[in-house]
Assembly symmetry: C2
Homo-oligomer: 378 residues x 2
Amino acid sequence: MNPRVLEVMPSLIREVSSRKKSTSIDLGLGEPSLAPNPAYLDEAMRYVKQHGVKYTANAGEADLRDAIARHYGYPNMSDLSNVCVTVGSQEAMYVAIKTLLDPSRDELLIVEPCFPSYRKMAMLEGVSVRTVPMREQEDFAFDAQRIAGAIGERTRAIVICSPCNPTARVLRAAAAETLSRALERRRGDPVWLIHDEIYREQVFVDDAAELARRYPHTIVTNSLSKSNALTGLRLGWLLGPRAFIEQAIKVHAWATSCADTFAQRVALAIFRTPGALQEHAEWYRERRRGLLETLGKSGLRYVSPDGTFYVCVQLLPGSASLDAANELIEKHDVVAIPGAAFGAAMEGWLRLTWVASPDLVAEGLARIADYCAKGAVA
Amino acid sequence: MNPRVLEVMPSLIREVSSRKKSTSIDLGLGEPSLAPNPAYLDEAMRYVKQHGVKYTANAGEADLRDAIARHYGYPNMSDLSNVCVTVGSQEAMYVAIKTLLDPSRDELLIVEPCFPSYRKMAMLEGVSVRTVPMREQEDFAFDAQRIAGAIGERTRAIVICSPCNPTARVLRAAAAETLSRALERRRGDPVWLIHDEIYREQVFVDDAAELARRYPHTIVTNSLSKSNALTGLRLGWLLGPRAFIEQAIKVHAWATSCADTFAQRVALAIFRTPGALQEHAEWYRERRRGLLETLGKSGLRYVSPDGTFYVCVQLLPGSASLDAANELIEKHDVVAIPGAAFGAAMEGWLRLTWVASPDLVAEGLARIADYCAKGAVA
């Protein structure tokens, strides 16, 4: 078999989450607890009942590609030829990495802490990875100078997830400006930015940056998973310069052919409904207000969330996050994801989801605080 | 960008099909003209309305994996651990090739004529390809001796599509026996067989072979696309030995995460309904009977279909199939796929789909016969 496949590890997040018991308070897996709006599902159903469930063009339905391009209106990316509809943002990222990077030569720079899939995808492709960790002492804020400074001779693309899973930090306008200027000053072939925007609709600060508005060699990945509570629908997209999208469509076409027609009709209904991508946003803002109160009383060190539905809390100094997560499941019936899953920079931390009901989140946080306090005594 | 991506060509089949006019008789793209049974869609809708559209496990819903494994009951593959649910059979094949073959060493043997995706997938992975063409003078029948004889020192897997797109030939029991015995006699690491069974429910002969019943190192790919007229649902699966499936799940997980939850519920409804996979089979048998009558009167040389919903017809000697396909679209308003898309062995032939209404198929065949007759005069 392929040694790259043998070497790559399965998802630690999924593994930890799968050990959840029926009684567990689940602050683990990253998906909304809200129900999706059934109106979009109904609209898609009416369509497939009338038209069947036929293949679409590899790049997706033209109407959907057009609606996505126009919704975001990013400079030089506002036409349907700038969009490839994908099987969730996971396939969008996979296709982006596979399309942009030459395994024999290029290197991917990953801004950590981050979702582990970027590294695994690169490993599967035989693409070298370099990482640049954001710092605990700065609450993992995006440091544009550090990112730009980490670019090596072989670096051809940089992945940035903002709002960030797991840190919940957002790349601010000023940092984005610094980063894009640094990239534009470089000589030679441009370095691509891949902006994972999957938490774009869960932002709690005013100056969140959209890299595609600042830097022309930006690729955007996104999906309906988090904005509309449709994680299982597997409907995402790539936005990028036309020359990139033309190549990306081939990878997508030979790997998966096209995205699900039913899912594409759900997406079209959403993009045709003004405000639909933001319809859960107020719920998250409200929950976050309650969360911050609870966190303030918990005694835990945490990183105040700029976006997403995560919050990172720090364990006691010297704690191994995987051991802590295991102990929390086994002895305290709380599922939390070990920071180590997101890179060495987050060892000693846990990532928590705050989409469960406020009393469950509060109880989960109390148990984690209690666990930390007891550790201090022992 | 990745030179392998730059080199790989987009789909010629899709390109030819896309030139269809509103008036064209479409004997091109490979998808059923039947409507899917709405009962399965309704059942999936009830589920997602009640439970939301959440992620499933990467390998798919346990109930569905179990139902698939038990439905086929292939030796040593009848447990849910032998199944990975995928984004159509296209992703199943992509994952199989990526998982089985080490690009630095291994070679994939492709039995031609065949669907072009196998070669493109291997190209994207940097995996060497060797082909073994079945012969026109034998009506492209599967020749087990030729296949076994083509295995090279580096060959680690063989792809066979039976029933075959495009030839419509079926691998018969006797040939499968010869092939599996030849493979078992080999020393050293076993050579894997990848059996693309996507047209399994459209078989018109009695002795079609299921390689997974004969040879233990068989991987099966399949989907609901052709059996249940659900091409756009993107729901397929891999069946294989557990050690293979464990590795394949990782590739699937990092490339696409999981298959669509709605689509998985449709599949579960189908696998729970006795006979559901065969519910369109009689329609194909009946259409085939009419087709054979029409073909007999057409004067065209054709390969009698053992399975699928295709039939291959021969152009005049020396005809280039792409030129013929272009001329047929432009001047005769018939869409047909050039044989060259399926490998050099089928140059000089056209692949036709016979799922349109019988009178349209007859009219399309008459125009092609007329085109050939005129060519003979000129």
